[in-house]
Symmetry: C2
Subunit: 224 residues, 2 copies
């Protein structure tokens, strides 16, 4: 085994936007809007998860979607076709939404007319974890093809999320992915994390995830 | 179809580090070191691709690997077991390596004693694209499960890479992925891009990719 050394080259500090995030959370709560911040790697299935979740809840709640991307309107068009109010936010190269961009987007969108507002964040496991956008619930989607070591490599993401969806379980036989190990690694970072194994393609596991989401919405309402 | 609006909230400018990147490229070339910057989403198969590439070239060249991660030494340990010189670089929360971090890592590592030096960048399609690290070759690995729309959503990444490896083609039957569409979308952004369809798991397509890599190394040497 060759020599292995570890060096630390930089320390980034991100806390300037927490005040705005708290303000957003307060305003959302008082107007009865529950904001979910969906985060994941590119291609982990954020849009497909969102579309299935919307189809299960759209007769019950007024749902709006904010799609954050560097470029393109691919996802926003999908959401609009699903019949929910949608806004596309271009971050102009920024690798994540921050609290002020989110607050601006909510206002522009008239977002507080919705019961349930989803922010599909930029596909990325690093920057979005560093920016509190003022969501009521932070959700990370980790897909089976990405591997079970991601909580070791992107620890902050798994710390800041209250809920982790392990997606693409229908493709399980093609990839080596250890369910117990991934749970252990997530819970080591975040003992309170709720973990659901789902397939946005087949719908497996969605009843539990959606029930959890509705419970969290009810708790938030009761807290006013 | 519901209404769809597009707003631009921010414009990021990144060019401060180009001078250092040019300097790195010049020094590498004059010392006969070819630096490859490997970029991809988390879980696209950077490490597996690297391990297979190394196994095919390690008797021919002196190879070194710099593993950039937010945290953990998972990948660096794999590389060290493969018998190549390895350094783990912790970016301290930063979502990509920049030119000065790379230059510092090369010096710390004694990297110019190598013919071929790989930088496995942080798993991310946004930030690494914005930072010229001074590599001789920039390679993006896009994996089949991520979907063929990624060149639309992360255009800069596909513009700055000379070569794109489409990985995990062994898992193709499980995912809808259009080879022609992805090629079209990459070439629309970057008409000179070399595209290889590979499986780091089975080795399919690797002969072509490795031959290309060796050609590029030879061209760089001839340019001194």
């Amino acid at each position: 085994m060759s020599e292995l050394r570890v060096i630390d080259v930089n320390v980034g500090i991100f806390d300037a936007n927490n005040r705005i995030a708290e303000e957003t959370r307060r305003e959302n709560r008082s107007s009865g809007t529950f904001l979910v911040n969906l985060m994941a790697s590119p291609g982990a299935g954020k849009s497909t998860t969102l579309l299935r979740t919307i189809s299960m809840l759209k007769d019950k709640y007024r749902i709006g979607v904010m799609e954050a991307d560097i470029d393109s309107v691919v996802d926003a068009e999908k959401m609009a076709r699903a019949g929910v109010g949608t806004i596309q936010v271009h971050t102009g190269g920024e690798c994540a939404m921050d609290a002020s961009m989110t607050s601006e987007a909510i206002k522009e969108f008239g977002g507080r007319d919705y019961d349930l507002l989803f922010l599909e964040n930029v596909g990325n496991l690093v920057c979005p974890a560093e920016q509190d956008v003022g969501a009521s619930l932070n959700v990370e989607i980790l897909s089976i093809p990405e591997g079970d070591d991601k909580p070791l490599k992107y620890p902050l993401m798994f710390e800041v999320c209250q809920c982790v969806l392990i997606n693409k379980i229908d493709a399980r036989e093609f990839f080596s992915f250890d369910d117990e190990k991934v749970k252990e690694r997530i819970l080591a970072r975040n003992p309170q994390a709720k973990i659901f194994f789902v397939s946005a393609k087949t719908g497996e596991g969605f009843a539990d995830w959606v029930a959890y989401l509705e419970e969290e919405m009810a708790k938030d309402k009761a807290a006013v």
